[in-house]
């Protein structure tokens, strides 16, 4: 058992060690967190990643804001209301959506957004593609959490003369709250590290962009991809540093989620 544990730990520590040793020193410089890469070539040192960090956060949060209500409500429908054919069809669709490769989601939105509607490639289009990837994760995890809520609690509420919708909102959802948050964060972690739709819909740019509806929006994955073939040392260092930043960002989100989940979880 310990052997298996160590075996699982080796790649994890290896990745962390490589990323930290090759990119860690850049993160200690305060300009990494305050400056963008504007005007900085691969040859030059310096500059920061704030443009990419902002882009990743804005896109991640927008995606979550759209996906979480859709996903949670779909899960509520499937667990609490869904009977018969429609529910089976919805469940099947979610399964299909789970299996959609991210590049297909990206191409689909490209076909819709750019080819059909004739819009520009903007941050919001990226968010739409990420929504396609995040919704099934949220649906499935929320579904599992709602199923874990004992039926006795629902019956207890019904027996008090509480209508079904109120039972779900006031009893079932609070009981499953911490599990739902965990599922949302797993989904968010997945989409924040997603690259394929970003390559298609949100090419990299070096300056800060906060408008989801106009201009290119840089993100950490595209920043990593941009310089990954570069052989000049300053650019290579920045690639590793951006990778470490992305790992830290997702770790931080997970920790924040744990705290939120603990605050609102079942009291013991």
């Amino acid at each position: 058992m310990w052997g298996a544990f160590l075996l699982a730990l080796v790649p994890l520590l290896w990745i962390l060690w490589t990323v930290v040793s090759k990119g860690g020193h850049l993160l200690l410089d305060s300009q990494w967190w305050t400056n963008s890469q504007k005007g900085i070539t691969a040859r030059r040192e310096g500059g920061g990643a704030i443009h990419a960090i902002q882009g990743t956060l804005i896109q991640g949060l927008t995606t979550a804001v759209i996906s979480v209500p859709i996903g949670v409500m779909t899960a509520i429908y499937l667990v609490e209301y869904g009977r018969g054919r429609l529910a089976k069809a919805v469940s099947f669709m979610v399964d299909i959506l789970t299996g959609v490769p991210s590049i297909v989601a990206g191409l689909f939105i490209y076909a819709l957004w750019v080819t059909t509607f004739g819009f520009q490639r903007v941050g919001f289009a990226v968010c739409l593609a990420l929504v396609l990837l995040m919704v099934p994760v949220v649906v499935r995890s929320t579904e599992e959490m709602l199923k874990l809520v004992p039926n006795e609690l629902r019956e207890a509420a019904y027996a008090l003369g509480v209508p079904k919708w109120k039972t779900i909102v006031k009893v079932v959802l609070p009981t499953a709250f911490s599990g739902i948050i965990t599922g949302v964060l797993l989904g968010l972690a997945r989409v924040m590290g997603e690259t394929a739709p970003l390559l298609i819909l949100g090419p990299y740019s070096k300056s800060i962009a906060t408008d989801l509806f106009s201009g290119l929006m840089p993100t950490l994955p595209t920043m990593i991809n941009q310089d990954r073939t570069e052989s000049l040392q300053p650019a290579v260092d920045r690639v590793w540093a951006a990778a470490l930043t992305l790992i830290l960002l997702i770790l931080l989100l997970n920790l924040a989620g744990r705290v939120i989940a603990r605050l609102g979880s079942v009291k013991k």
């Binding site: 019956e155 509420a157 019904y158 008090l160 003369g161 509480v162 609070p174 079942v266």
Partner: protein, 258 residues
């Protein structure tokens, strides 16, 4: 406040399966009626039809009539949610809401039905916890989670939660089967006290318990597995236990089967 229940010719179905057949009986107000019988004989199923809780299970439906005083519970204009406000229920396993404190658990029924005002809620919570003989044990820790109490205390908390919405009738589905003898005694004492205000119907597997707490006892039985359960005999508890009218009742009570 307590009301009389009149059941006539009630059949209960789950989908195509007939679970209970042809029950006719009367439950007097301010009395305790016990349902006894072997497992699977439909006593819990029948109990749940008294506040339409069987409808929560897909396919559950009834034929026949249940009257609460002069109100037909199954009339087409009756809302099952409103029925459950009038006819409360306590379950086999204590099921306090795990995210709520002791106070919030008791106030849940009122709050979720839109009652506000701290003063009113404070009053109801104290009155209900007193009614459930729990006030003295928990008055200093009302803000603590309800799930932190012992099993017996949790069950009394559930009773307090049920009586906080001031029902007319209280249904209890094997309320002591998950409890130790001391907690069982506390609940039985409580049932005898609640009798002065509520009509109580209790399902129990424990015949001594039926003999101790009830005024009237109904014996349910089923002919064979897969056949519907039937009401065999209903009479004063004294009569059922000392001089039953049907052989099957006597066999069951004396332990010859079941």
């Amino acid at each position: 406040m307590a009301k009389r229940i009149d059941v006539s010719d009630l059949n209960v179905y789950y989908g195509a399966f007939k679970a209970v057949e042809g029950v006719t009986m009367t439950v007097e107000p301010r009395s305790v009626t016990a349902f006894i019988g072997p497992s699977g004989c439909g006593k819990s199923t029948f109990l749940r039809t008294l506040n339409r809780m069987h409808e929560v299970i897909p396919g559950g439906r009834v034929e026949g009539k249940v009257m609460l005083d002069d109100q037909d519970l199954y009339a087409s204009d009756v809302d099952p949610v409103a029925v459950r406000r009038t006819v409360g229920m306590v379950f086999q396993r204590p099921n306090p809401f795990p995210t709520m404190s002791i106070y919030d658990n008791v106030a849940a029924g009122l709050r979720l039905n839109g009652v506000k005002g701290k003063k009113k809620l404070d009053e109801v919570v104290e009155k209900s916890l007193n009614g459930a003989n729990l006030w003295n044990e928990v008055k200093d820790r009302l803000a603590k989670p309800g799930a932190g109490l012992s099993g017996g205390q949790q069950q009394r908390l559930c009773i307090a939660r049920a009586i906080a919405v001031e029902p007319q009738v209280l249904l209890m589905d094997e309320p002591c089967s998950a409890l130790d003898p001391i907690s069982t005694l506390a609940i039985e004492d409580l049932i005898s006290e609640l009798k002065s205000q509520y009509t109580i119907v209790i399902v129990t597997h424990n015949m001594q318990q039926a003999a101790r707490v009830s005024d009237q006892t109904a014996f349910f039985n089923l002919a064979a597995t897969g056949k519907p359960g039937k009401l065999v005999e209903v009479a004063d508890t004294q009569k059922i236990f000392n001089n039953p009218g049907v052989k099957a009742t006597e066999d069951y009570i004396s332990g010859r089967f079941g």
